[in-house]
Symmetry: D2
Subunit: 499 residues, 4 copies
C-alpha cells in the first residue's frame, strides 16, 4: 500500500531518539533543522502517488501498486523502468539527496534476486531476507543503511590491551527472541527521515570478527538506539531565498549508537559469519542494483549544475566570451558523457540467474569512478565562473523588508536587464549548490559514499576482463618473432593474410 | 562486388604520384616505407571476404554483398550492425589506423541519408552525390578525405597584396566537362592506400571564398595530382620485432598538391557555394556517422593499451603493488567508461528523417571530447608504468644473430620466469605503442583529427539543450521568492506538495 | 606612533555604518559576527608592539618606530626585512586573513617609491600621495582597498538608454573643498576592521570613464558611506571548539555604498584621468610590493594546511600506508616549492630607480599563478584524506555538558590512543580549514583576489622576456640550414667549435 | 689540466666496446650514430677553455685551472658560481643533455665534502674517494654513473631456486690487486662519451646483498666491460635540418655488461657493505650537489621549450588569440616559477659541516618533483599548440635538391611573411623537441632519471619538518578547549592577547 506524504510524515514521528549535540529532537518533522528535509521526503511520497506518474513510479504486485524501485528486472525494458523511476526521483531533488527511498531499496532488491547466497554458508537466512524484502515493498518503507564501523573501531588491539569495550557494533548477547546489540555504526545518511535501517558490513571483516557480522533490518525507533546527528545545515532564521537548497535538501547524517538494543531473530539476515556478512553485496546483484541509483542521481545533479553554470555566465555577461563558451562546452561534454555511461548500462545489460537481468557492471563502476574523480573539479569550474559574484550581495534578502535599504539595493544591484533580486536569487542558489556548508558536505559525500577512491578503483580492477585484454597483445605477439628478418616488400606482400 | 586483398593491392598500383621528400615512390605496395601498411589494408579487404564474418562485415544490396559500412541504418539493430563492423575492423588493427575504409564511408553514407541538403542551395548536386555513394558501395571503394586548407593559406590578404597565387585549393577554370583545380589541400591520411579522396571543407569559408568551396570525390591518380608524404616511420632495415606496430600500421599522411587537375562535373557535389560546402556535414548525419567509427576505433585502442599496460606491470613484478593495481583500476575504469559512451549512443539513438536512425549525437561528441582530452594522459600513465624498461634492451633483436651476444643476452636479460626475448618483445611493442615516432604521431593525431579541441568543445556546446538545462533551475526558482519568511515547520509542513 | 590592540579597538569604533542584511551593526568590536575578527586584528597590533619582535615588526623613521611594512627597501636585506614582517603576521593568522594591515601598506608604499608617475599626466597628485603615505605610516593606520566596479556596472549602455543612474562609483560634483561621490565599489575585504580605504580602479577604464577614475584614501566613517557586508560566518551560539577558524578569522567583505559622500581634495590622488587611474599600480612598484605579502601569506597557509593534513592521517592511522605517504610527500613538495618561489624573489631581486630595490617580478607573478592554479586541488586532497571523518562527530561539543552523553561520547569516539575530544578537535579544525562556509569563501578568495585567472596569466605573459626566449631557438637555427647534407662524422667532427 | 675538444675526442677513442644490436662500434667519434653527440661533448670541452668564460667555467686549484663543477662551496657566492657554470653548460645544450660532465662531478664533489662517512662503517675508503676526486678534477675527467640493478635482477629467489647466476653486478672474486666483477648494471647515460663511470647503488640493498654493494669509479675501456646501447636515434642519412636536436644531442644510454672485469682496490670506495653503499649519497651532500645540476638543466630546457612554443604560435598566426596568449602566460609562469625554485635554493642555503654550504635541500627536491610531475603536460601543451603543423611538411628538406619540387614547395608552403623553409625549419625543430623518438626518450628520461615518482615524493616526505608543521596546528589547538562557551564579545574582547 502506497503512503501519501501525510501518511509518511505521521509514520516517522515514531519516538526515535535524535541528538543534535546535546539537544534531543522531539519531532523531526517540526524542528527547524529537519522540517525542510521532512517536507521534501513527504513530497517524494506524494510524487509516487501522482496518478500521472503511476506507470513511471509504481508497478503491480498481486493487485497492489508498489514502488517501482522494488521491481526485480527480467528484461531490458524492466531495466529501463527502474531507470525511469530513479530518474523521476532524482530530478525532483536535483540529485541532491543521496539517500532517497529508492537507494537502499535497490540494495535489498538485489539481495532478493540471488537469495541462495544466504544459504551458501551458515549464519545466513534466506527466509528472513525474502520476508523483509516483501515487507519493505508491501508497506512502502523507506530504508537507509549503516554498514561501516566507526573510524574509532579500527584499532582493535588497543581496546583489548586496555580492557576497554570496543566501539564497533556487535552482538553482546543472544536469547530465544533475538540478539542484543551494543556499539556504534556509521554513517546513516537520511536516518532522521527513514523508517528502517539496514545494519551490516560493506568492508571485509577479519575472521575473528564474527560478532560484528550481524546484519539486520530494523526500525529506527528501537529502544536503546539513538541517532547522533552531525551538525544540521538548516536552522531557524535562514530564509529560503538565501539558502534554498539547504532548506530542502539537508538529508542528515547520523551515527547510530546502540545501548542494549534488542533485535528479534526475524530481522536478522546474517549472524556470526564474517565473510558472508560482506559477500552478500558482491555475490548478489545488490551492489550493482543500488549503485545504478547513484549513477542516475549524479547525472541529474550534473544537469542542474551545468544549467546553473550557464545561467551564471549569462547573468555576468561572460557567456559570449570564447573561452567561457569552451568551458561550457566542456561541461556539456561531461554531462552528456555521463548520461551515455548510464544508457550504455542498459544497452549492454547482463543476463543473469533466475531469468533476471542486470545493468552492465563494468560500465556502472566506471561511472561511479568518473563521478568520484571529477566532481570536485566540476564544482571548482563553476566556482571559477562565479568569480566573487556571491560576495557582492547583501547578507540576507531581508534588506527588502526595509524600504530605504530596498531602494538602494534595487537601484545599485540591478545589472542591465537583470534585476537586483533576480541576480541575488541566482547567485545564492548557485552558491548553495557549490559553496555553502551544505554544498561542501556534498563534495565530501561524492568522494566517499561508495567508499574511498581506492575501493572504487578496486571494483573497476576486479571486474576487468584481464585475460581477454592480455590476449589482445599476446595474440598479436604470436604473429611475429625474433627470427623474422626482412618483413617488407617482396612477393609476400602480395599474399596478405588475416592474422 | 567485394575485392579480395589481392584485388585491392593491384587496384592501388594505379600510377599515382607519391613523393617522400624528393624520392618518387614507384610502387607503394613494394616500397619499404609503405609495403607494411599496404599489406595491412589488403588484409582488411580479405577480412571482409571471410565467410565466417559475412554477416558482420557485409549486407545485401540488390543481390550483391556490400561492405556493412555503407549501410543506411533504419533501426536500432542496424546501428548495432554498423557498430559491429566498425569494431571488427578496429580490432584487427588495434585501433591504430584512423583511416580505414569504414571511416569516410560513414561520411558519405551520412550525406546520402539527407540528400535534399544538396538541393537546398545552388551549387549542390544531389544526383552526383547519390551516384558517387552508389559507386563507392558497389565497387567496394576505399575513400579518404582532405578537407582542410593548408596552414599557409590562412593569410589571404597577404597573397593578394603581394600578387601571389594562393596556396588553398580552388577552381581556376571551368569548361563543359568539368573544373580545373590548383593549390593544396591537407591532410589526407591513408592517401597512399586509398582509391579515392573526398575533397571539401570542414571549416567554415568566408562568403568570398566561393572558388574554394569545391567539393568532389576523385581518384588519387588523376593527372596533375601529387601526394607529398610526411616522413614515413617504416623503412628498410627495421626488424618487425623491434617496431611491430610501425611496421604494419603506418597509415601515411599526405599533402595533396594539385597542378591543373581536371575533375569532371559528375564527380563534383558542391561548387561555388561557400556555406553549403561546410553545411553538408552538419546538416546531414554525415559528421555523426563518420565519428562513430572514430569512437569505436579509439575504444579498441584503449583496450590494446590497457592490456599492454597490465602485461608490462606483470613483467616488471609491480602488478601486485597496491598503488599499481589502483592505476590499473583507473585505466580499466577509463576503458569501460569509454565503451559505455559508445553503447549509450545505441540505447539513446535518434529517430530522424526518411525512416533513418542515428547514433546519439551528444553522447558521440562527448566521447570524442573525452578521447581528445584524455589520450595524452593515458599514454603518460603507461609511460610511467614502463619506467626506463625499454632503454635496457639492446638496440635490435639482431643480437640473436650473433651466438656470443645471444648467450649474454639470454642469460643476463632473462628475469625470473620471463625470458629475455619475451620481455624485449613486450617492451618493444609497448614502446611502439606509446613512445616511438609512430606513437608520437598518433598522440598528435588523437588531438587533432576531428579538429582542434575548441572545435570539439564547440560541437558539445552547440548540441547541448541549454533551454532545457536552464529551465531546471529557473523552474525551481519560481517555487520561492523574496517574500517567504519562515519556511520551516508549522502546519504547512504537514501539507507537502509536489513542486 | 604605534597603536596597541586596545588603542586599535577604540579607534575603529568610529561610527561607521555597517549593514548585515537589514541589521545595522552598532559596534563591530562587540557584535558576535565581528568581535572575533576584531580581537584578532587587535592582537596583531599588540604583536607589533611586542618588544621581542621590535626588530622584525618595526623600523625607525625620524626617531619614531613605524610598522616595517611601510619600509621603502633600498637593499636585498631590506627586502628580507619586509619579508620577515609579512611572515610574522601571516604566521599569526595562519595565512587565513588576506587583508591584514601589511597588505595595502605594500600597495601605498609601492606608489611612494615612484611618485613621479603622479606627475606624468594631469589629474595625479604627487604631493597628496606622499602626504597620505606619511600619515598612514606615522599614525599606524590599517588601510584596505576597494578597486573594482560592481558587476552590475559593466553594462553602461543599458543605464544610459534607460535614463538610470549608473551603479559604478563616480564623482558627481566638485567644489573648492573636494569632490562628492555616489555609487558603489566592490569588494572591501577587512572593511569592518580597517581605518581607511583606498578607492580606485585596478581594471582599465574606457577613456570616457573620467568621472570613475577618482582615486583617494578615505576613512571608513565618512558621512554618507555605508558598508554592506556579505553574510558573516561567525555568529552567537557557535562554540569556538566547533569552528575555531571562523571564530577568529572572518575578515569580512563589504560592498561600499556612497550616497553624497564628500571627500576633501587632499585625500584625492587621481582625478579625471581614466588611464592614470590604473597605471599607477603597474608603472610603480605598487602591484609587486603588495603581492609579495600575498605570496607570503599563502605560504603560511600552505604550511598550516599540510601540517593538519599530516595530523589527520596520523589520527586515522593511514599515515603509514605508502600511497598516503606519497600524498603527503606531494604536499610537502608543494609547500617547499612555494617557499622557494618566494625566497627566489629575494635572490633575484631587481635594482630599480631612486636606489630602491624590488622583489623579482616574474617570480612573484609565477607564485601568484601557482597559488591560484593549485589551491582548490590542495584543499581537495586534504578533503580526500579526511574521508567522512568530520561527519562522524556530534553536531557540537556541547555534548560534553550532558554527563550521560559525555560518557557515551568519550567511550565510543575514543580511538585507541586518540581521545574522543582530541579527535573531534582536530577534525573540526580541519573542516573549518577546508570544508566550512568560511573555508569555502577562502577557496573562492584564492581564485579571485588578484583578479581572474586570465588576468594573472596575463601578468605572466606581459612580463616574460619573449625576445630573449625566442632568440634561444632563433640563434640555434642560424647554426644550420637546408644546404647541409652530411652532418655526421668526417674530418669536421674533429674540429668542434662552440656555436 | 683542462682538455680541449680535440684532446677530449682523442681521449675517448680508448678501445671501449660498444654494441648497437649486434654491431660493434669501432670509433664512436666517427660513427653516424654517435659522431654528432661526440662533437657536442667536444664543444663543451672547448667552451670550458674559452678565455671569455674563464671565471664562469673554471677556478684555481694549486695554480691550475679546474672545472668549476668540482668546486667545494664555502659561501653563498660559491653556490652562485657553481650555479652559473651549470647554467652555461645547460644553455649550450638547451638542457637536452642530462649527462654532461658537471652532473656526476656534482655527485663526487658532494661525496668529498663529507668523506668521514666512508670511515663510519667497514668497507668504505675515505682515502680512495679523495684520491679519485682529485684525479677527476685534476685530469678534467668526464664521469657518468650506473647505479641501478637491471630490472631482471629484482627476483633474486628465482635465480637461486633455479641455480642460475644472477644478473645483478657483483664481486665474484677478490685478490691482492682488487676485485673481479660480473653481471650487469643499468643505465649509463652518456657512457659512449664519458671517460669513467661510477658504479654503485642508489636503491637500498638487502643486508645479504653484500657482494652487490661494490662501489667504484672505473674507466669505460676496462677489459671485459661492454656497453650495450639502446637504439641510437641518430643515423646516416638524416639531414640535420630534419632532426637538428637528435643530430647533436643523443647522449646515449648503455647497459654495462661485466664479464670478469678486474678493478684495482684503489678504485673501490665501498665494498661488502650493503647499507653504506647507498648511504653515501644521502648522508653526504652528494645527492643534493648532483641534483642542482638537474634543476638548472631542466630550467634551460623549459626556456627553450617555451621560446619555441611562442615562435610556433607566431608562425601559425594564433599568438594573438586570447586563449593562446593565456596558454603562453601559463607556460611563462611555469618557466619563471621553476627559475625561482632554483634561486630560492641559493637564498635559503644551508651552512653544513667543515665550513661548507649547500643548496636548500627541500627546495631542490621540490623542484625535482615539479619537473617530473609537469614535464609531460608541458610537452603536451606544445603539442597542442603545434596542431598537425609538422605533418604538413615534406618528408625531408631534400626536396630542395630537385628544382621542380623546390619551386612547388616554395610557392605553396610559404605562409604570408613566413617562408616555406623557415616554417619547415621551425616545425622540424619543434617536433624534434617534443615529438620525435629523441623527444620521446627525453619524456621518459624526465620521469625516471632521479628514480621513480614515488621515490622523489619520498625525498620530499623525509626531508619535510613534520614536527614543526604539526606544531603549528597543535599550538593553535592549545589556545582553546571544549570548556569555552561564549567566545565572542564581552569585556574580554577588549583585552586582546597574542596567543
Amino acid at each position: 500500500m502506497l503512503m501519501t506524504g501525510k501518511d509518511y510524515l505521521r509514520s516517522i514521528q515514531d519516538g526515535r531518539v535524535i541528538y543534535v549535540g546535546r539537544e534531543r529532537i522531539e519531532n523531526q518533522t517540526q524542528h527547524p533543522a529537519f522540517a525542510g528535509g521532512a517536507r521534501t521526503y513527504a513530497a517524494l511520497y506524494d510524487l509516487k502517488c501522482d496518478p500521472s506518474l503511476r506507470e513511471v513510479m509504481t508497478y503491480e504486485v498481486n493487485g497492489d501498486r508498489c514502488a517501482m524501485y522494488y521491481l526485480q528486472p527480467r528484461s531490458q525494458e524492466d531495466l529501463r523502468r527502474r531507470n525511469r523511476a530513479h530518474r523521476a526521483i532524482a530530478k525532483f531533488c536535483f540529485g541532491l539527496l543521496g539517500r532517497t527511498p529508492d537507494a537502499i531499496a535497490g540494495n535489498i532488491t538485489g539481495l532478493s534476486m540471488k537469495p541462495e547466497v544466504f544459504e551458501s554458508e551458515p549464519g545466513g537466512s534466506r527466509t528472513n531476507l525474502l520476508n523483509i524484502y516483501d515487507h519493505l515493498r508491501r508497506d512502502d518503507i523507506f530504508a537507509t543503511y549503516a554498514i561501516v564501523p566507526p573510524q574509532s573501531a579500527r584499532n582493535k588491539d588497543y581496546y583489548q590491551s586496555q580492557g576497554l569495550s570496543q566501539p564497533a557494533l556487535r552482538v553482546t548477547a543472544e536469547d530465544d527472541r533475538g540478539v542484543t546489540l551494543n556499539g556504534m555504526k556509521m554513517l546513516a545518511s537520511g536516518a532522521a527521515y527513514a523508517h528502517e535501517v539496514l545494519i551490516g558490513n560493506v568492508m571485509p571483516l577479519a575472521p575473528d570478527q564474527k560478532k560484528e557480522s550481524i546484519t539486520c533490518v530494523i526500525p529506527l525507533n528501537l529502544p536503546g538506539l539513538s541517532l547522533w546527528s552531525r551538525r544540521p545545515f538548516n536552522r531557524a532564521g535562514i530564509r529560503e531565498f538565501d539558502n534554498p537548497l539547504t532548506h530542502r535538501f539537508d538529508e542528515s547524517d547520523c551515527m547510530l549508537v546502540f545501548r542494549d538494543v534488542h533485535v528479534p531473530w526475524e530481522k536478522v539476515i546474517v549472524h556470526d559469519n564474517a565473510a558472508l556478512s560482506r559477500n552478500i553485496y558482491v555475490q548478489t546483484p545488490s551492489h550493482v542494483m543500488a549503485n545504478h541509483q547513484c549513477n542516475v542521481r549524479f547525472a541529474e545533479k550534473l544537469r542542474f549544475l551545468i544549467g546553473i553554470a550557464s545561467l551564471v555566465t549569462r547573468a555576468t555577461g561572460a557567456r559570449d566570451i570564447p573561452v567561457v563558451r569552451e568551458t561550457l562546452g566542456r561541461l556539456a561534454a561531461a554531462e552528456a558523457g555521463y548520461g551515455a555511461m548510464i544508457d550504455g548500462q542498459i544497452e549492454a545489460f547482463h543476463q543473469i540467474d533466475h531469468g533476471y537481468v542486470l545493468f552492465n557492471r563494468r560500465y556502472l563502476y566506471a561511472a561511479l569512478h568518473w563521478a568520484l574523480d571529477n566532481h570536485s573539479q566540476l564544482v571548482d569550474t563553476v566556482r571559477e565562473l562565479m568569480g566573487g559574484g556571491q560576495f557582492q550581495f547583501p547578507a540576507s534578502i531581508d534588506v527588502m523588508d526595509d524600504p530605504d535599504l530596498r531602494s538602494v539595493f534595487e537601484s545599485l544591484w540591478t545589472a542591465g536587464p537583470f534585476g537586483a533580486i533576480e541576480r541575488m536569487k541566482l547567485f545564492k542558489l548557485a552558491w548553495d549548490l557549490i559553496g555553502s556548508d551544505h554544498a561542501s558536505r556534498a563534495t565530501s559525500y561524492e568522494k566517499l559514499f561508495v567508499g574511498p577512491a581506492f575501493a572504487v578503483r578496486n571494483y573497476n580492477f576486479v571486474n576487468a576482463p584481464w585475460d581477454e585484454l592480455h590476449a589482445i597483445a599476446e595474440d598479436f605477439m604470436k604473429t611475429y618473432d625474433e627470427t623474422d628478418r626482412d618483413p617488407h616488400g617482396g612477393a609476400d606482400a602480395m599474399n596478405p593474410v588475416v592474422r
